[in-house]
Amino acid sequence: MTIRCEQLDDLLLEGDAASMDAAAKHAESCAACREILADWNDIAVAARSMRHTWESDLLWGRIRRGVVRTPLWRIAAAALLTIGIGGTTWYAVRDTTRDAAFGQTILSVAAVDEVERAEAAYVAAIGRLEEVAEPRLENAEGALMMNYREKLMVLDDAIAEVRSGIAENRKNAHLRRELLAMYSEKQRTLQAIVREGEHVSNE
């Protein structure tokens, strides 16, 4: 079948393999159509290279938390639990540091175990509160939520730093107190986010 230059557009519109083959065959003997076809294919090649995807460890977690919503009573329970365990931890840390055998900055082995148990429970409670707060934080817009998000990032960095210090010296009461203060701040921030989210959804 002989293709004329006027038919090139029809072939490009059709765009299937047979049409493109026919266009290519015609282009072999027509410089003008060859140039058009070359550009056409060039654009397609450049477009294919624009496919872009990436690994995202956090995205699935965000989706999961967003879709599987936590009921309100669980939010309240998580908040209460956090406050309760927070108070207990504070009390435990205060007592164990006061009675420490090696001075104010060194904890005894028993005290360290006790603090670590309380700390683990506190962290778990904060984790539950975080699950509630995070979807609100991610879905929300506005300067306030942005500030909360940044504050949490800063706190998480600081917590990671102090924890690595504690890993090197488990008995350092000063670091433990710093860590507790940071967790308390994180807890307050998460509670503020939950409250803010409820305020927005009630509006």
Partner: protein, 187 residues
């Protein structure tokens, strides 16, 4: 016996395929396993579609997350008129349009973040094409992206954008003709 006979008969257009029905039902009841399956199977393409519409990884992830929430809310109303994936991509594209409009209202830039390090002619071509696509009306841009970048068929694109297959073909042709003019000038 009856099942064997029925198997050879094409399904009625409005009756959802069993697989689509399974996914929609799972999404409606917020089944984490179904959502994870949907995410693992289609997440890469969803991210790519969103990225090419919105231009940043952060915005693309927001759009994908928002899409999953909308899928959950709307899955109970899934009728099966289109395949589950077509329906899902339609929600995603509309979510991207909403974000772009929101951005426009705020007077924010909508162009895709260019690679900081350009290393080859192909990179330059890709960046040039991205800029050209930024200047296109949204429907044309989406048809081009879904066909040329994501490799979807005109039938699928028609289902996503609620246009006919022939219309999708025509829009792609007209868009590529327009792009070719700019392509030629940019050389």
């Amino acid at each position: 016996m009856l099942e064997a006979v029925l198997e050879g008969i094409p399904r009625v257009m409005n009756e959802p395929h069993a697989e689509d029905r399974r996914l929609a039902a799972g999404c409606a009841r917020a089944d984490p396993q179904i959502f994870e399956e949907v995410y693992r199977r289609f997440g890469d393409r969803m991210k790519s579609i969103a990225y090419n519409h919105l231009g940043t990884v952060a915005d693309a992830e927001d759009a994908v997350q928002e899409t999953f929430l909308k899928i959950h809310r709307a899955a109970a109303t899934f009728t099966g008129e289109a395949a589950f994936t077509t329906w899902m991509y339609r929600i995603l594209v509309n979510t991207c349009y909403d974000l772009l409009r929101k951005r426009k209202r705020r007077g924010e830039e909508t162009s895709i973040e260019d690679d900081v390090r350009v290393i080859s002619v192909d990179d330059l071509k890709r960046i040039a094409l991205r800029r050209m696509l930024d200047g296109l009306p949204e429907q044309r841009r989406t048809v081009f992206m879904l066909f040329e970048i994501e490799g979807l068929s005109h039938a699928e694109i028609g289902g996503i954008l609620n246009i006919s297959e022939g219309n999708s073909k025509w829009i792609l042709f007209a868009t590529k003709k327009e792009l070719r003019k700019q392509w030629k000038e940019s050389r």
